[in-house]
């Protein structure tokens, strides 16, 4: 399940977002404010370590993800097959560790509406009600 709200920090002066939260902005000696970002983004780069440090199993897949909310974060992955720089991925959390994953159809739909929302108030309200309808419909179907 994609993390909807990853804890982050925002610099009140320059707007920079960082994950995980930090006390001070890396570019300004000012206290950052708590914020959250959604766990959707794209692959900036990735690698597979064949002799990882102690405590990790080989092969260790590591990716750097640029979140749509602006921050970048490191993730582990189950595999890198089908992954490219620029691939859209979701971020999941397991025992406090972030993992990237290919996005499911439902995740993609949510992402589509989130992006549509950015275009204007009207689209936001339409997408919200539509998404809500879809969500309700889905949960009824599940039960």
């Amino acid at each position: 399940m994609i993390v909807q709200a990853i804890e982050a920090s925002r610099c009140p002066r320059c707007g920079r977002m960082v994950v995980p939260g930090a006390r001070y902005c890396p570019d300004h000696p000012v206290a950052m404010e708590p914020a959250t970002v959604a766990g959707v983004g794209e692959i900036v780069s990735f690698t597979t370590l064949h002799s990882p440090p102690e405590g990790f199993k080989a092969p260790l897949h590591i990716a750097l993800i640029e979140l749509e909310g602006g921050a970048r974060l490191f993730c582990h992955g189950q595999e890198t097959r089908g992954i490219k720089i620029g691939s859209n991925v979701g971020v999941e959390s397991l025992d406090g560790v972030f993992y990237f994953s290919h996005m499911s159809f439902a995740d993609r739909a949510r992402l589509f509406w989130r992006r549509a929302g950015a275009r204007g108030e009207k689209v936001v309200s339409i997408s919200k009600s539509l998404a809500k309808g879809l969500f309700r419909g889905r949960s009824r179907g599940d039960s």
């Binding site: 890396p26 780069s45 990735f46 690698t47 064949h50 002799s51 990882p52 440090p53 990790f56």
Partner: protein, 372 residues
């Protein structure tokens, strides 16, 4: 600011202790300068506590060298600590506090198992990023893949860096590796951090290097020295494929020298990972953006090329005893400018050294010039 003497041990697997290695390089530099007793001592060592179990390194070294009454400090900026020590010595003399300063750096690592060495060096990575198992090769692997994607860097170009540097190392009696390698051997070596392979990565080495800095005119002048920094966390950076720390260091060094990259005729570049040589040639302005890979394949950076790079063998073949490396680069350039680089001599009057600290968090560019 002048360099009156240089000294360096053979790099590689050494049985000597770190203080003995540092003494060998330091006393050689003092002999070369004709100085028995410097006014001050600057020591660089990155992780001597972890590797050797000893601390208080300024005092340990001044006593070991028979210079217990000479003021000594220790300086550290991760893998670029050696140049940070040169900078401290430079500032000391420029401020008029002392006339002659011995700068010496070294590391002893080969007696420690490789996973433990990786872990110790890895402590220079952002603590949060380390919890994801990132090591230096892992971060370099990420950067390499991004550079291949956005800058069109190829595996062949990166492999040629290692081939060239091994060919140079074969001509340097103090280098860790003295055997040439083929392009095929590099491209077929085992994967370390995809797409980086073993032969794209520098070895773990022991060794030490030293300079004598002085206010009195000597054969070599330090024309400029500049530091540049960037965020400890790689995830805080907008651009993965060039190093802001190098660009800022180069700008500062050129500004101090009053000339630009066009006057540089030979360079030592921090090739801890082969692609870093290509990235850094462009970040220092020695090559136009996007041209370093092609230029390397065309032999422009070889010993007989337009701009010889890493005539010593670089970190790849000369070896990388952490805090010794930045000083060893300047030692090599002094030998080149003085015509003492037997077997690998190039013709040059102006030279550039580039050193990376951590994952390009604290970088340095130094410009040296032969006295007219």
């Amino acid at each position: 600011m002048w360099i009156a003497g240089v000294g360096m041990t053979r790099f590689g697997r050494r049985d000597l202790s770190l203080p003995d290695l540092i003494a060998e390089a330091g006393l050689a530099a003092l002999r070369d300068a004709g100085v028995e007793r410097p006014d001050a001592l600057v020591v660089a060592a990155m992780n001597p506590e972890e590797f050797t179990g000893a601390g208080n390194y300024g005092s340990l070294i001044n006593t070991h060298l028979g210079l217990a009454q000479v003021p000594a400090v220790r300086v550290e900026t991760a893998t670029s600590s050696g140049v940070a020590a040169v900078y401290a010595g430079f500032a000391d003399i420029a401020a008029g506090l002392h006339r002659t300063v011995l700068v010496v750096g070294g590391e002893k690592m080969t007696h420690v198992p490789t996973p433990r060495v990786s872990e110790i060096i890895g402590r220079s990575i952002d603590p949060h990023e380390r919890t994801y198992g990132t090591t230096m090769p892992a971060l370099a692997g990420l950067i390499t893949r991004a550079a291949m994607h956005s800058r069109g860097l190829t595996l062949r170009e990166m492999a040629q860096v290692a081939v060239k540097n091994h060919a140079n190392g074969a001509r340097n009696p103090l280098a860790h590796f003295r055997e040439p390698v083929t392009l095929e051997a590099v491209l077929e070596s085992r994967l370390v951090a995809d797409p980086l392979r073993l032969y794209h990565c520098c070895p773990i080495s022991d060794g030490a290097a030293a300079l004598v800095l002085t206010a009195e005119p000597a054969p070599i002048r330090i024309a400029g020295i500049g530091q540049g920094t960037d965020t400890m966390a790689v995830r805080y950076r907008r651009d993965l494929t060039s190093f802001r720390a190098t660009q800022a260091a180069a700008q500062a060094a050129y500004a101090m020298a009053g000339f630009g990259p066009e006057r540089v005729e030979v360079a030592e570049i921090h090739d801890a990972f082969s692609p870093f040589e290509l990235i850094s040639l462009e970040d220092t302005g020695l090559m136009p953006p996007g041209k370093a890979g092609r230029a390397t394949l065309d032999g422009e950076t070889a010993l007989d090329g337009r701009l010889p790079v890493n005539t010593s063998g670089g970190l790849k073949a000369r070896g990388h005893p952490l805090a010794a490396t930045g000083i060893a680069q300047i030692v090599e350039l002094c030998l080149q400018l003085r015509g003492l680089a037997e077997g690998r001599q190039v013709s040059a009057r102006v030279a550039l050294a580039h050193s990376i600290g951590g994952l390009a968090t604290n970088n340095w560019v130094t410009l040296v010039e032969a006295r007219a």
